[in-house]
């Protein structure tokens, strides 16, 4: 796996930790996850069931509503894409400061 980029903001760091916790990635730390690598089908080997678990957790954590599987796919294109998605649609009171 490519070396991780520096974590630029608290939301990105929070999302990476959420991914590790939700999917119980034992051999991967939050710092290991690159910002721009595809989450599904990339180096983490996540599949559509993993994506579904992430969607459920994200909806609960940030008060967002992902309407379709295509929207989920776009949101989970990468950590960077997910950060943008959550920042734009999440409940501001639930975003890390």
């Amino acid at each position: 796996m490519a070396p991780a980029s520096p974590m630029p903001d608290p939301l990105t760091a929070s999302l990476k930790q959420l991914i590790v916790d939700t999917l119980r990635l034992e051999d991967t730390s939050a710092a290991d996850i690159p910002d721009d690598e595809p989450l599904v089908g990339g180096g983490l080997s996540l599949d559509s069931i993993d994506a579904l678990e992430l969607v459920v957790r994200l909806e609960r954590e940030f008060g967002i509503k992902i309407a379709s599987s295509e929207e989920a796919r776009q949101a989970l294109a990468s950590v960077a894409a997910l950060t943008t998605y959550v920042r734009e649609r999440g409940d501001p009171s639930r975003l890390p400061s």
């Binding site: 559509s48 579904l52 969607v55 459920v56 379709s68 599987s69 295509e70 989920a72």
Partner: protein, 369 residues
Amino acid sequence: MAETPAPIRIAACGCVTPFGDAQASHAALIRGECALRRVPVLGNDGGDPVPLALMPGRPLDETAPPGWLSSVKGLAERLPPGAWGSPGRPVFVTGSNFGVGGLYALGRTGNAAFASWGALPTCTEQLRLALGWGPDVAILSHACVSAHLGLLEATRAIEAGAADEALVLSFDFLSPFVAGGFHSLKILNSEFPAPYRERASGAIGLGDGAAFAVLARGRGDWTLEGQGVYNEMHHFTSNRADGSGFARCLEAAAGAADGRRVWFKGHGTGTLDAGRLEVAEASRAFPGSPITGWKGSLGHTLGSCGLVELAIAIESVRSGIAPGTIGGPGEPMGPSVALDNFGTRGFDGVVCASNAFGGAHAAFLLCHA
């Protein structure tokens, strides 16, 4: 010299959908009607409105006994008379969910009356007793290809001499548990389905449905040829991107068609990836065959879809006109997708296909004997 056994045929077939029996359902589809209505996904507990096709007057929430029992009993009244479930006359009960909503209701309410309908064996036993069947009842459940498997096993039972005739009964009725499950997968949402059409996001509808078929040697007007089942063993909820699972399953039906002119009744739930693969492989296996799908109106009747739609396909051949693909707007996924009704008299048969979670595929060629 040994006598060649008479071919196995469909001696009787029928279905019930929210539109009514097979004839009424076919007529409604020809008129372009849609049985789907927006219903709160969790019934009395609310939730997002999603497109569901429920039997008239039946609420989504579970009752004990189930509200769908009357629909199955009504369907059973149209069965050929006889001692179903007795030696030589086995019953194959197929479905995806059976009374699973009852288990959810049991967990939520603590009402023990839900227990006897909740699990596959207990639900089937209740049904067996309610319909007066003998003990020779088998259960087959493999998601959305369940009905196809029932037809295949019934055929094999007769071929093996284990049955003189066989009944396949297939049913699937919705509940908050089932609707909630598909909703959580993000494929059942507020959008109505548009099978075989390109759009920004896919969506399905779900529907109540039940159907039966009686298979027997030498009786009946319809044959099932090239029955094929195949599981690509790729993933729970997605297919191999190269379409090989769809292609492999269609080989038997294509071989049976052997150059005859056929039309294609597809699975077509409204999801995008599977729809594209299905259209591509059906077009490849049956060049020039119009492809149609009816789940945009009936909803996906899950484990019963193979048999519900077989009954409507029979009506289509009998009447000389097949419903086109009903659903929301969008460009068709291929030139063979039939958006309008079309005549069936010039065809020699219809290939009926279904696809399921877990990468299961099934298909057969239906012909008039």
